[in-house]
């Protein structure tokens, strides 16, 4: 939510629509996974600091090595 804050009102509707679409696409592709992880981490109130971005993505793909997701026909 924070990425858009402050710029919403002044944007041209077309630019806004494009932004919305781009955010949607990022969500579908899973590009926002790190942001969601940080949100969760902050909300859950763990005492430990969260993983940095590099470590998070490394951990994510490494876990997929042993826990593959199916892709359908």
């Amino acid at each position: 939510m924070s990425a858009n804050a402050g710029s919403g009102g002044l944007l041209h509707p077309v630019a806004q629509a494009f932004r919305g679409f781009s955010r949607y696409l990022q969500g579908v592709m899973g590009a926002d996974a790190y942001r969601k992880y940080l949100e969760h981490h902050a909300a859950a109130g763990h005492g430990t600091p969260p993983m940095d971005e590099r470590a998070f993505w490394r951990d994510r793909t490494d876990r997929q090595d042993t826990n593959p997701q199916g892709r359908c026909c």
Binding site: A43, A44, G70, C73
Partner: protein
């Protein structure tokens, strides 16, 4: 408090106290929602009457009016109106009477939230995500092959099948898996059906995956055989994916969109460059590969891809594939809705009443219903709908939109693919899709053979075939069976009408081949990996060492077994003198739908244990239909005395010919080829037997479990409940695409909350 009322959780009293006094309710009040749903304003009535009328007119145009041509737009109206009605009314019945979701209950994404695997995801995003996971090349290929019988049988099955069967399966599996913390279909089968049913389901799933991967790979091989352009551009996806993988791991971690756009640009460059490379003498010579070589290449690739780390190949490839998927759907929609091609294919073709069609063999019933699996009813979806997606769902009521709605979307893709493919000339269609053994392999012989079929309105010259081939940048389009090249020609034909003209046809053709190959290769990689873990897990029950994912020898051995299994079937298809697609594609559909039967059987047992007897028909009807279709198809394949249909009949015919000392029989021109047929038909026959026996075991155990559940309930004995313990939800989100008035009101209430109260605290149970 580990048990629940047998009815699910209808009310919040007792079992599910509101999570927190300070929070607004986590669900719209049942009475309010009920009133809203049952209130029919004149505008609402007018809207649904209009949708019903438009759909009715469209079906009339497709099914009753027999003009010279039919416009493609009627396919769009007939399908979309039927989907809307199915979604609004039928899926609502399933929700209200069978599944009874409760938004007061937290979903696994909430109560197991870990920021990684269990993450609450916006419903619209998850819809796209789920859709990208279930849709691939299947709905693009099956309808094309089924078009042999005319457009109407396929259209009816795709649209009606999805509303009553395919979308129901996806929705049910997703819901039940969500209630079980995202458990897989195999785990649910084991829990609900016991050891025998569970084990049969597991073995059947494993075998079915082998067949599905093999035949998808066969489609790619057929599309790339003798096509230097295709081989180059599809081959380039491997270095592109490797580059993306390294980029994401070491250069710019997490920049998924950025790397996807770079990958997409490189992909386009590979398609354009492929034309240039194939135009040079060395390029044409180097990338001109026969099908057997490509098949071996795929097998070696499949093994390496499955043991490489995910970040290097699979993950980037998946990004590329998802990115392309969105573009392809947009392109298909534009192609059909903007260009609105006139369709000259008849509603029922000459082959609708016969069982020896050149594209696929077998009678309309049951083989049409297995030829089109993806898009109407696909069992493979049960593996996706259980597992990944349920761990991301935000609210229980969203499963209808994501599960049922997502499958409707895939069905629409199938309809668009069907329309794109039947917009080409029928003569070209049969010349492309019949095995070389029939067409003779050259433009001259193919034209002669097609004209000799006696199809109404078909009169094709060798020049047309040669011109089409040169327009799409290929040496020949004769006997490019498998569906993918036909769809590519259809798409190129439509797209060039508004972008680029004939000069761009070659680009569009290879663009289409590229995305189909990309989807399939992603499914092959992921399928091999998933199957390998299933195998490791199963062997692990006897040799525990195999359960350790990090134990290399075990991982490699299981990967080799899986790749060897699908590789063997693939090679059988490629070398099959009868034309691999013709005999093997029905096996793909049978396998896929037997899996659907297994999934529906598990769902029926679960629904019965929940006490929903009056509405059990919602599951029982599609289960009965798919069981009858697949078991009948299997019986045809096993016992039919027609060699083109029955594996053992074919085996006997060839064995006899060999015993008589003949050196050439039917389409096999050498003794070695005849021996290959004898071997292949025997293996395919026994595979059919094993599939059908395993599936019958699963269905029978499910029926037994269902009957037992009914008896228990009548006797007042509670049934075992394998759902996770209900926990109160402390978040809210609307159920569907457009929030209703009551949902908006509740959302506003939640939005008014101070931020620190809105934060989930799911980590602390």
């Amino acid at each position: 408090m580990g048990t629940m009322p047998e009815d699910g959780t209808r009310t919040a009293d007792g079992e599910l106290n509101p999570a927190d006094e300070a929070l607004p309710p986590a669900s719209v009040d049942d009475a309010v929602r009920d009133a809203e749903e049952r209130r029919w304003t004149p505008a609402k009535i007018a809207l649904w009457v209009a949708i019903a009328l438009l759909g009715g007119v469209a079906w009339f145009m497709l099914a009753i009016v027999r003009g010279e041509t039919v416009n493609a737009i009627w396919f769009v109206f007939a399908s979309v109106c039927t989907y809307l009605i199915g979604y609004r009314f039928y899926s609502k019945v399933i929700e209200r009477y069978l599944l009874k979701p409760d938004d007061r209950r937290a979903t696994p994404a909430e109560y197991k939230a870990d920021g990684k695997d269990y993450v609450r995801t916006d419903r619209n995003v998850l819809f796209g995500h789920h859709f990208a996971a279930i849709a691939g090349a299947g709905p693009l290929v099956g309808p094309v092959i089924a078009a042999q019988m005319g457009y109407l049988p396929g259209t009816i099955w795709i649209i009606i099948g999805v509303v009553l069967a395919g979308a129901v399966q996806d929705y049910l599996v997703m819901f039940f898996s969500m209630r079980r913390g995202g458990r897989s279909l195999g785990q649910m089968a084991r829990e609900e059906l016991g050891v025998i049913g569970g084990t049969a389901a597991l073995v059947a799933t494993l075998l079915i995956m082998v067949i599905i991967v093999a035949i998808l790979a066969l489609v790619v091989v057929n599309a790339l055989g003798e096509s230097p352009w295709g081989v180059f551009s599809v081959g380039m996806t491997i270095p592109i994916a490797l580059f993306m993988g390294v980029y994401l791991r070491y250069l710019r971690p997490g920049k998924v969109m950025e790397v996807s756009i770079i990958g997409f640009v490189l992909l386009m460059a590979a398609i354009i460059g492929g034309g240039a490379v194939a135009g040079t003498e060395w390029g044409a010579a180097f990338f001109h590969l026969d099908k057997v070589t490509i098949a071996w290449g795929l097998i070696v690739y499949g093994f390496i891809a499955a043991i490489l780390p995910v970040w290097l190949l699979l993950a980037p490839r998946d990004y590329l594939s998802t990115f392309m998927k969105i573009g392809v759907i947009a392109m298909l929609a534009v192609a059909i809705i903007v260009v609105r091609p006139e369709i000259t294919v008849p509603a029922f073709s000459e082959f609708a009443g016969r069982e020896n069609g050149p594209v696929f063999s077998g009678a309309l019933f049951p083989f049409l219903f297995v030829t089109i699996a993806c898009g109407a009813l696909s069992g493979f979806h049960a593996l996706i709908s259980s597992g990944t997606t349920p761990k991301l769902i935000e609210k229980e009521r969203q499963t209808r939109f994501i599960g049922y709605g997502g499958m409707l979307m895939e069905s629409f893709v199938a309809i668009m693919a069907l329309v794109a493919a039947i917009s080409i000339d029928r003569g070209i269609y049969f010349a492309m899709n019949a095995p070389a053994a029939l067409t003779g392999g050259t433009a001259e012989t193919a034209a002669q053979w097609v004209n000799g079929l006696g199809l109404a309105g078909v009169n094709i010259t060798p020049d047309v075939l040669a011109d089409t081939a040169s327009n799409v940048g290929e040496e020949s389009i004769v006997s490019r069976s498998g569906g993918a090249p036909t769809l590519a020609v259809g798409l190129a034909h439509i797209m060039q009408q508004f972008i680029g003209g004939t000069g761009m046809m070659a680009f569009w053709y290879h663009f289409a081949i590229m995305f189909e190959a990309l989807f399939i290769l992603t499914a092959v990689d992921a399928g091999t990996r998933v199957a390998r873990f299933m195998l490791q897990d199963s062997i692990g029950n006897f040799a525990p060492k195999f359960k350790e994912a990090s134990w290399r020898p075990g991982a490699w051995l299981c990967t080799a077994i899986m790749v060897g299994a699908w590789g063997a079937v693939l090679l059988m298809g490629v070398t099959d003198p009868l034309g691999g697609i013709n005999t093997l594609f029905p096996l793909f559909g049978i396998a896929n739908q037997l899996l659907a039967a297994i999934a529906l059987a598990v769902c029926m047992a679960i629904a019965a244990k929940r006490g929903s007897f009056r509405y059990l028909w919602i599951v029982a009807v599609p289960l009965a239909f798919t069981a009858v279709v697949t078991i009948t198809a299997s019986i045809h394949k096993i016992f039919s005395s027609v060699p083109a249909v029955g594996y053992f009949a074919n085996n006997a015919a060839f064995s006899k010919a060999l015993a008589d000392g003949t050196t050439s029989f039917g389409t096999a021109k050498t003794t070695a080829a005849m021996e290959a047929v004898v071997r292949n038909t025997m293996i395919q026959g026994w595979l059919s037997v094993i599939f059908v026996v395993l599936s019958i075991i699963v269905i029978v155990t499910a029926v037994v479990a269902t009957v037992k559940a009914v008896r228990n309930t009548t006797a007042g004995i509670p049934n075992a409940n394998n759902e996770d313990r209900p926990r109160p939800s402390r978040v809210y989100a609307p159920a569907g695409l457009i929030p209703t008035a009551a949902e908006r009101e509740l959302m506003a209430e939640w939005n008014k909350l101070p931020a620190d109260l809105r934060i989930e605290r799911a980590g602390h149970h």
